[in-house]
Symmetry: C2
Subunit: 289 residues, 2 copies
Amino acid sequence: MSVIRLDGVTKYFGKKAALDGVSAEFETGRIYGLLGRNGAGKSTLINSVCNRVRINKGEISLDGERLQENDKALGHIYAMSEGVNLPGDMRISSAFKVTGDFYPNFDNEYAGELAKRFGLDVKKRLGRLSTGYRTIAKIIIALSSGAEFIFLDEPVLGLDANHRELFYRLLVERFIDSGCCMVVSTHLIDECANLFEHVIIIDKGKVICSESAETLLNEGCAITGSAAAVDRFCKDMDILSQSSMGGIKSVYVRGRPESVPNGLEISKPDMQQIFVSITGGQEGEGDTK
Amino acid sequence: MSVIRLDGVTKYFGKKAALDGVSAEFETGRIYGLLGRNGAGKSTLINSVCNRVRINKGEISLDGERLQENDKALGHIYAMSEGVNLPGDMRISSAFKVTGDFYPNFDNEYAGELAKRFGLDVKKRLGRLSTGYRTIAKIIIALSSGAEFIFLDEPVLGLDANHRELFYRLLVERFIDSGCCMVVSTHLIDECANLFEHVIIIDKGKVICSESAETLLNEGCAITGSAAAVDRFCKDMDILSQSSMGGIKSVYVRGRPESVPNGLEISKPDMQQIFVSITGGQEGEGDTK
């Protein structure tokens, strides 16, 4: 098992701390959800780990070895980030090759196979891709990188529902085959939630929650049914968050009642409900960059 | 009432028809959903209307006047597209001003107010924004443009759940205040569906559905409940698509049964279910650019 450790990592952009004393661990053999609102610091965290931004304080290490400016250790980490970081006139097939130069375990054959499954023409130039297909090119490179640690920043940006579904399947397949560490940062929490073994939530540059998904999901329960019946049954409970779909309402409450009336259903809460209850529902929080 | 009309619009990229004989209408006083899988041609359609790509065949007009290379008519149309189309070192406040030069009804005060609500610092440079905040800057400019026709291509790209919610509210407010035409292209169909009055679905460059949301929602119904009960009740029905959330299953069936057993609920299908049933569930379809 390998582990990346962040210890008191702080990063300023101007006067604003994008990361404010962040400590966290990422182990191989696990899939992490890295969650937070826009501007919370998720991308800065990922960019710090892979040395794309220089941190102001703290330490980041891989198996005890300092990561900053350590090319050998950084070769174990692939971070799919917002930008493409390759020239726009480069063809996708060349992007595969160039990545292979830095990541000796890059699997060119697998990358080609994924391109086929997503309907991505590898003769295309990176700069000519739509948002959705640019994301697809980036996730193919990340999944094929062969790195021990794969950070995926918004891996479903611009993807249609079918392509998102395909990506989730491939991520799990790749994880099982390689036993690597996957860290997924996303705003489509519900769709990804059942992938996560561990969830790290950051807010205004600080880690405000780091728990196993199991623990989080067992702190409360969801009660689901027709809106009126749910409201009636839950009126004296500690309601942490709520959501609805059509006439059906689902509320996330602390604890777990022993039984529910006929017509209502009791189940684990969904991750979006938990996230909302932890981060609150304020409007804009400000960008950190 | 003003109307944009597309008549047999065809656009090739190389040998591939990104748009293949597209005819459609967009009227003021309506919100349209423009739906399609990755690479279906949605962005090309929007870019054709605002003259950012030159079409190969067909005609696009505004109230009977040809739109191509007609700057006066194009001044009634604002299209928020994938790119920012402004220099990366420009500050957001300057981007507001520049847009005001082209769109005389641009509401600078409203733009500033929206920036505050989203937590966007208008002194920031466009090129320094995260994906989410870049989208926020673009939607603020679009909603403030004062144009009669506002096309929004992926307006929630990279937005967290709270910011998406805020955007949907603002869109409706602005629509009610102005009576303009809004055209929203998105992959997060469920979240947007109740905004749409009319839905246009394109697939491989062709319009395969153009219906009022009302009509689409009444062609079938959704039956929702615990997965086992739903499967039992619907086993002999014509199932058009299905989805689940936790232990809840919802299937979209043709027609509408007169009653359902206790514990099941019958309701209008959701737009994602309808979209999936119309476009099928194949894997990659290929990019058109």
